[in-house]
């Protein structure tokens, strides 16, 4: 339709012909634009927000010194060519590649990297958690144009694993929009300051609604790996599952995020346009028990509960098999798992025995218990309901309480307010045992949601702290194995499965590569077939 319009066409509109006549076909036949259904991060500043949706976004807009690639994940040199670390594990030096360009055309130098890390530390949000305790802003320096040096306060092995969580922002853009020393917080929250393979179109962003990006031809890696890349990414998150499924089936969106409900797989696979891609990710599902509250302070009581969850039933029936049983407190695919350790199985007889033992030891097993779930998350509700009906069979009385994430993390700040039990996932913030057992079972983290079982074992504390301070994986591995062995014996929580991500993808999407960090949202590999 051209810019001119006749009276007749206007009349046609009134008659409804334009409205229903299909000016634009439901499916975009355009092979240069990928319509992505990934959830948008809370805002676009990778230094303010660091969660799964942000990972998916920043992989396309920003770059990092090192980055996770492939499946299973490997940490690979990205903006940096290489790095060195001192024997004491305190001094880290990264060598930057020359000639890297930001979206505004300016060249990236070591100073820019320094600025980025200092900004992360100053904002103290999102990705800062891994660095605040071990890194002072003045100890990030640039000895020369292409070298960045970090001097850590204490040796901290996960430092390197967390490097991919920090994006390098363009200080020239950020500083130009700084207000009252806010480190450009307001500006970067809605605008582009990156160097990644795609740049954000101006006016192309509205939180929760849409995010438009276009290709950055001068990306430092070039585009040789993909002769026919996607020119534009139209981020169109859908809020309702039903809308999401329908959009995928009728081609309105090219891919969903990886949180597709298992029950929808058949229907999507049966559709003409789309299919479901399955990938194992590092994201564990766990029912927390508040070890500080009776009866969960009693080990037999905890074991009774651990034997009362129908692991296979949940995974096979409710998740239609799209998850793998993971009896360990961290993903089975990650290093540090003691191969000899055995998990707990679904056995109501055993559970009853443990109940009896616990009762004999004076644990108040008959106390009415609560299990809190995230109301908006159906799977957590289902898991809790399933658990509830099994527990009822062995005479334990549990009530399912709907709750929301912010309330739950808030309640987890104190043992008294932490629910008896609650359900959540632990996603990959960085690929290291520290992300799971390190932060979940070291008692120094009590008060954070990750450590909300209030588990305390001096031996485990020692092991975990020692492992954290070492740099070499070979040296750390046995320590984690020992710690996990002990943790599993103490049974502080109920570990259920490691997730399989289910992503609905339009059949025209080719070349997608998956990595657990970012859910395979890296668009630079993708081509669209006509």
């Amino acid at each position: 339709m051209t810019a001119k319009i006749t009276r007749r066409q206007l009349a046609g509109l009134a008659a409804g012909t334009v409205v229903t006549g299909g000016l634009i076909p439901a499916r975009a036949a355009d092979t240069t634009t990928l319509v992505s259904g990934f959830q948008l991060p809370q805002n676009l500043d990778p230094h303010q927000v660091y969660d799964v949706p942000m990972q998916a976004m920043m992989l396309n807009t920003y770059d990092n010194l090192y980055r996770y690639q492939n499946d299973p994940p490997e940490i690979v040199a990205w903006l940096a060519e290489s790095h060195t670390v001192s024997d004491d594990g305190l001094t880290w030096e990264f060598k930057l590649r020359p000639g890297i360009k930001f979206h505004d055309g300016s060249e990236m130098t070591a100073e820019d990297v320094v600025y980025s890390f200092r900004r992360v530390l100053a904002l103290a949000l999102g990705p800062a958690g891994a660095f605040l305790k071990i890194l002072k802003p003045e100890n990030v320096t640039a000895p020369d144009k292409l070298t960045v040096r970090f001097k850590l306060e204490t040796s901290y092995a996960p430092f390197f694993a967390a490097i991919p969580s920090v994006c390098i922002v363009n200080p020239r853009v950020v500083k130009a929009h700084e207000k009252d020393g806010d480190w450009g917080k307001a500006y970067v929250a809605s605008n582009d300051a990156g160097s990644g393979p795609y740049k954000i179109v101006s006016e192309g962003y509205r939180p929760l609604e849409y995010l438009d990006m276009e290709i950055f031809d001068d990306h430092f890696l070039g585009w040789k790996h993909n002769p026919k890349p996607v020119r534009k990414i139209a981020g169109r998150p859908t809020k309702e599952t039903s809308t999401r499924i329908l959009s995928l089936i009728n081609g309105t969106i090219d891919w969903t995020d990886g949180n597709l409900p298992a029950d929808q797989v058949d229907q999507i696979n049966a559709s003409k346009l789309a299919f479901v891609q399955k990938d194992v990710v590092m994201k564990t599902f766990v029912i927390r028990m508040n070890n500080a509250k009776p009866p969960f302070d009693n080990i037999n009581a905890r074991k009774a509960f651990a034997h009362a969850f129908n692991y296979d039933g949940f995974i096979k029936e409710i998740l239609a098999g799209y998850a793998t049983r993971d009896p360990y407190p961290q993903p089975e695919t990650l290093w540090g798992i003691p191969k000899d350790a055995k998990g707990y199985d679904y056995d109501l007889a055993k559970a009853k025995e443990y109940v009896a033992k616990a009762v004999a030891e004076g644990a108040p097993m008959k106390r009415p218990l609560e299990i809190h779930v995230q109301s908006e998350n159906e799977q957590s509700v289902q898991g809790a309901q399933l658990f509830q009906s099994d527990l009822a069979q062995i005479g334990l009385n549990v009530k399912v309480v709907g709750d929301i994430w912010s309330n739950l993390t808030n309640a987890a700040a104190k043992p008294e307010t932490t629910p008896d039990m609650w359900v959540h996932w632990v996603s990959t913030y960085f690929v290291d045992p520290e992300n799971w057992v390190g932060q979940m079972y070291d008692s120094q983290f009590h008060g954070t949601w990750k450590a909300s079982s209030y588990y305390k074992n001096a031996e485990v504390d020692t092991l975990l702290r020692k492992a954290r301070a070492l740099v070499k994986q070979e040296e750390r591995e046995p320590l984690y194995e020992a710690a996990i062995r002990q943790i599993m014996a103490d049974c502080p929580d109920i570990w259920i499965y490691n997730s399989m991500q289910l992503q609905g993808i339009n059949k025209r999407v080719k070349g997608r590569r998956f990595c657990t960090v970012g859910q395979g949202a890296e668009v630079r590999w993708v081509t669209l077939e006509s």
Binding site: T241, S242, Q264, Q267, N310, Q382, S389, V401
Partner: protein, 280 residues
């Protein structure tokens, strides 16, 4: 009374409404006796998940393999309980306030009506949602939130009626013969003001069920495994459009019930409104 009932009997939609309401009440009372699987209020049967309607499960089964027909039947009681409680509490707050404001006048009346205006200005759904999130979502908070936002409607109505009646001749006459305030208000004004209140309440019953369903849909109402209609629709969203039966039958139950109350309320309104009555 009899001619009024006879008039109601001739009003086809109102009778339809009455029939629906009676039916729903009956289902609510007899719920566990009528439901083929009363245990499905809490039990789960993983092997029978998401079966389409068929023999044994006329409305199909839900995400935990529970019989939807049973759960729709069992849900009637909860729906009615919510509706009656909310409207009851709202009336308990709203009617006395309206009487007071309407009969007394002056600053008291002014204050009450101003507060009423403020509460009316808070969007019901927003307050309900905010309250639900503050006090952790449950049926009780949903009911509290709905009651707290519904009473101003009654205050408004009663206030208007009371004002009209208390300036009327017959109340003047009562004052003239020395009737006490309490006597006038409760024996003479209230009975005359009550019919619009009843009408509003009837419509409110339906409305409450609907809003409660929306709250349930947003995860701010009933908690699982309660057999709640709104909750069922909310749960079904993950399985739509495949499991169409999952949302459809609870949806129809809501539709039917709300319709019943509304039709009845409309019929009653036509009946008590003398201006419309005249035209019959």
């Amino acid at each position: 009374m009899k001619p009024i009932l006879r008039k109601l009997a001739r009003d086809v939609p109102a009778m339809l409404g009455l029939a629906i309401v009676l039916f729903v009440v009956l289902v609510a009372v007899l719920g566990p006796l009528l439901a083929p699987y009363p245990g499905d209020a809490s039990a789960s049967h993983l092997l029978q998940r998401l079966k389409p309607p068929g023999a044994g499960h006329p409305f199909g089964t839900d995400n935990l393999g529970r019989d939807i027909f049973s759960r729709v039947i069992l849900g009637a009681r909860g729906a009615l309980a919510i509706a009656l409680t909310v409207v009851g509490v709202a009336m308990l707050i709203g009617v006395p306030l309206g009487l007071l404001a309407g009969y007394r006048g002056g600053w008291l009346s002014e204050t009450i009506m101003r507060v009423t205006d403020i509460v009316l200005a808070i969007p019901q759904l927003v307050l309900a949602l905010a309250l639900a999130q503050l006090m952790s979502p449950s049926l009780e908070t949903a009911m509290l939130a709905l009651s707290l936002t519904y009473w101003p409607f009654f205050t408004r109505i009663v206030y208007g009626e009371t004002r009209r009646l208390s300036s009327s001749l017959f109340v003047d006459a009562l004052r003239g013969v020395g009737a006490g305030t309490g006597r006038i208000v409760f024996l003479h004004i209230l009975p005359n003001a009550i019919s619009p209140v009843i009408v509003r309440a009837t419509i409110g019953l339906g409305f409450t069920i609907l809003v409660a369903a929306v709250l349930g849909f947003l995860g701010m109402g009933a908690t699982p495994p309660t057999p709640d209609w709104g909750l069922a629709i909310a749960e079904s969203r993950l399985y739509l459009p495949r499991a169409w039966w999952y949302a459809t039958f609870p949806g129809l139950a809501i539709l039917l019930t709300v319709m019943g109350f509304n039709l009845l309320g409309d019929g009653l309104r036509d009946l008590v409104d003398p201006r419309i009555r005249r035209s019959r």
